[in-house]
């Protein structure tokens, strides 16, 4: 049953990949979406079965077959559902279904074959992602890990005829290779150290070991695995691919580059929580990298002008938060933020997709503005998600972000907490800069719309909302142009007003917006009178107490207390006061950020412009993303290129390899110039040499 969750999307991939060309769009898109929904339903049944179990053996295992047997080392292709992977599969299949639904409308302008290709990739991605989170050992996880990387590559390069898109795809793939290489090394070191790759086995073995105070094997393993995570989850120094990955279609950005794949690194650390907990040095590095990335990406996000790029840097920044939490050993908080982030960030990306779609492919927020009254559904959902990510009390982002900041502060890392709170301010500011520039203020989009109005048929990113909007569509009040004859009236309406999201897109947006409001309520902290249900639910997964072995409750309690992070088990009364204070601080910071953005980009638009001119150095630095791409190009890409062309190509390959091959040829032909003098065609010479040979042989035998 468990294996069906990934295998059903895989079936969708097979159908769309091999038959997609012959299927109409409604069938290929509908099938892909339906299969994801089925997968979601199965996931829900499995998770509810999991909920029915007692916490200490809350685990569902399914072994498909034995993959590798070598000596005493065996490795199964096995799936395991526990508290942690339960959260992940719900996010993947649930948000995945919504994004599939959204895509059926968003990609509607594509031809049948391209449409099916898109959905086959999307389904394949879900298959690998589910494999990643359900795998019960490192290698199965790694198969998923590489698989999602492949799908990410395919989907970023979906518009492969566009040079920038295929470049971005290559960049994503190659940058990830660096991380994946480290991940493989980490996995190999795990095999050497523990003779096993099964997560539970490793966790139980590690549990017996003391914490590593100096840099040792565990630190090295975890550090290597974390480098893998920096690649997949876009952290410093390997984050550079994610902003470029926005070349892919917007639903892809929402699914892969916001909600699921990029969180794989966070999940991986959560999965190996016991391992990381025993390597405090690595955890400190994780926390520092996380906090730095959060702040660094936040500052870049402040000045970008491409709606999707702002969101991309925001994603990098939020992932930094998650790693900060992981580095604090507050794994529950990190996964909590992962889970809430999936809702509001997917909603933001899908909302940006709806904006881009209504503006026929325009992504520059300087050419938007005042869209609020034209596309109300998109506006309201986008606003809700922005409020959620900003950390305004009551919405999803508030609970998870505050838990992270509280854990950071409670662990005594005031500097990291300061970076976190500063990032929180930046988050609120750049999100509301985005909201104001896109939806409020004066309308700057008329040129764009007019330019596209008559070329609508050629615009690739523009779906045809009228052609499939149901007559009773509640979601698209503006799109009431005649549903039957969509070609002619569409041209005339374009120049006058914009279309809001058609119903499949609107449905996804509304559900995700509701999620952005409600998702946080599974983890209400103790300080606010809640029970932090999610944290409690996840706790056994991190402490490896649910190893499927019979345990007495006494043992369990002992372990739980022993391994409990401070703040969760320890004095709740004293911490509650601190937590409440911190909450008030971060709420004020969030509101201040929103206020600042409103002041600067809605009320006094000349101030940011003047600031940009006055501090043009800093502005240019941020606008050019700290020139990191240029630095990487100069220090890594160019040297590799030079070594490859001059050293490996012109030196090794041309001179040595080709030299050896051609040399063998020249040698043979050179020798044969001499040798062929013997074959002169004269019968008498042949006879003479034969005679001489016979004489020589005889002479040899006679005088031997």
């Amino acid at each position: 049953m468990l294996a069906l969750i990934p295998l059903i999307p895989f079936g969708g991939f097979l159908v769309n990949a091999f038959l997609g060309k012959r299927l109409p769009k409604s069938v290929s898109g509908g099938l892909a979406t339906l299969l994801m929904v089925i997968s979601f339903i199965i996931a829900v049944t499995q998770v509810s079965a999991l909920m029915g179990m007692t916490p200490e053996n809350r685990q569902i295992n399914q072994t498909l077959f034995t993959w590798i047997t070598a000596g005493d080392f065996t490795l199964d292709v096995a799936f395991r559902l526990d508290a942690l992977s339960a959260v992940m599969i719900l996010v993947i299949t649930g948000i995945g279904s919504l994004i599939h639904l959204y895509s059926t409308s968003y990609m509607h302008e594509e031809t049948d074959a391209e449409f099916a290709r898109f959905f086959s990739y999307l389904n394949l991605f879900c298959f690998f992602m589910l494999m990643l989170v359900l795998g019960s050992n490192v290698l199965v996880m790694f198969v998923g890990w590489e698989g999602v990387g492949l799908c990410s590559y395919l989907l970023i390069g979906y518009y492969y005829e566009k040079k920038s898109a295929s470049d971005a795809a290559n960049k994503a793939f190659i940058v990830n290779r660096v991380g994946d290489f480290a991940f493989i090394l980490g996995a190999l070191l795990l095999v050497v150290t523990f003779h096993s790759l099964d997560f539970t086995t490793i966790a139980l073995a590690v549990k017996e070991m003391p914490k590593e105070v100096t840099f040792g094997t565990l630190s090295l393993i975890t550090l290597l695995m974390f480098i893998g995570a920096t690649g997949k989850s876009a952290q410093i120094p390997l984050y550079v691919w994610l902003p470029d990955a926005m070349e892919g279609p917007t639903p892809v950005s929402a699914l892969i580059h916001a909600a699921t794949m990029v969180t794989a690194g966070v999940y991986m650390i959560g999965r190996n929580a016991m391992l990381f907990e025993h390597a405090p040095i690595t955890l400190t590095i994780v926390a520092i990298i996380g906090a730095s990335t959060a702040l660094f990406a936040g500052t870049i996000g402040l000045v970008q002008n491409d709606i999707k790029r702002v969101l991309a840097y925001s994603t990098v920044s939020q992932l930094g938060y998650m790693f900060l939490a992981m580095g604090m050993g507050a794994f529950g908080a990190g996964i909590f933020h992962l889970y809430t982030h999936a809702f509001f960030k997917a909603c933001l990306f899908l909302g940006s997709g709806a904006v881009i779609h209504s503006l026929h492919g325009e992504q520059d927020i300087r050419k938007m503005g005042g869209l609020k009254k034209h596309i109300p559904v998109t506006y309201w959902t986008f606003l809700i998600a922005s409020v959620a990510i900003a950390g305004v009390p009551g919405l999803a982002g508030f609970f998870s972000k505050d838990e992270i900041l509280f854990e950071t502060f409670a662990h005594g890392h005031q500097i990291l907490w300061g970076m976190g709170i500063l990032t929180s301010l930046l988050t609120a500011t750049y999100m509301f800069r985005l909201v104001h520039l896109t939806f409020h203020g004066e309308e700057r989009f008329h040129e764009v719309v007019a330019a596209h109005g008559h070329a609508a048929h050629d615009a690739p990113a523009h779906a045809a909302p009228d052609s499939h909007a149901a007559p009773d569509s509640h979601a698209a009040p503006d799109s009431h142009a005649a549903p039957d004859s969509h070609a002619a009236p569409r041209h005339s309406t374009h120049s006058t007003h914009l279309h809001d999201a058609p119903w499949p897109m609107a449905t996804a947006l509304i559900v995700l917006a509701l999620g952005s409001i409600l998702a946080g309520y599974v983890g209400i902290p103790h300080a606010l009178g809640g029970h932090n249900a999610l944290g409690a639910w996840l706790e056994p997964a991190f402490n490896a107490t649910n190893c499927g072995q019979p345990m007495t409750t006494g043992d369990l309690a002992g372990i739980a207390i022993e391994n409990c992070a401070p703040g969760e088990g320890g004095e709740p009364a004293e911490n509650a006061g601190l937590e409440l204070t911190l909450m008030v601080v971060s709420s004020l910071v969030a509101l201040a950020g929103i206020g600042l953005a409103t002041f600067l980009w809605l009320k006094n638009k000349q101030i940011p412009e003047r600031m940009a001119q006055q501090y043009s150095g800093i502005h240019q630095l941020l606008l050019n993303k700290y020139y990191v791409d240029e630095v990487y190009d100069a220090t890594i890409v160019q040297p590799i290129k030079v070594v490859s062309t001059e050293g490996l190509w012109r030196g090794f390959d041309v001179k040595l390899v080709d030299g050896a091959v051609n040399g063998a040829g020249y040698f043979v032909s050179g020798v044969s110039v001499v040798l062929r003098l013997l074959q002169n065609g004269s019968v008498k010479t042949y006879a003479a040499s034969m005679f001489a040979g016979a004489v020589a042989v005889l002479a040899y035998y006679m005088w031997r």
Partner: protein, 99 residues
């Protein structure tokens, strides 16, 4: 008569034949020289046959003579064919069969 005489004569004949093959520039003379070499060998066979008191040497000689006859027939036919091509009997005129 000791066998040494026969062998010396045979050796002389063979050398004459070989020298003829290598030195003469006429295809027909070449064939004749080959015949002389064959006959030198025949002489050796017969001499040894007699020395050892068996008939084997004589039997092999008959084989050699038949083969030599066939060889002469084929060889002469080839010589005629070659002559029709090149109007020459010099073996050095026929050196096109090479690289």
């Amino acid at each position: 008569m000791p066998i040494g005489y026969y062998l010396v004569l045979s050796g002389l004949l063979f050398s004459i034949g070989a020298a003829g093959v290598f030195l003469r520039k006429n295809l027909i003379t070449l064939l004749l020289s080959v015949e002389i070499m064959l006959n030198a060998v025949n002489l050796t066979f017969v001499a040894f046959g007699r020395q050892l008191g068996t008939n084997d040497g004589q039997i092999i000689t008959f084989f050699v003579m038949t083969v030599a006859a066939a060889e002469a027939a084929v060889g002469l036919a080839l010589v005629i064919g070659l002559f029709r091509h090149r109007e020459s009997l010099n073996p050095e005129a026929f050196t096109t069969l090479k690289w």
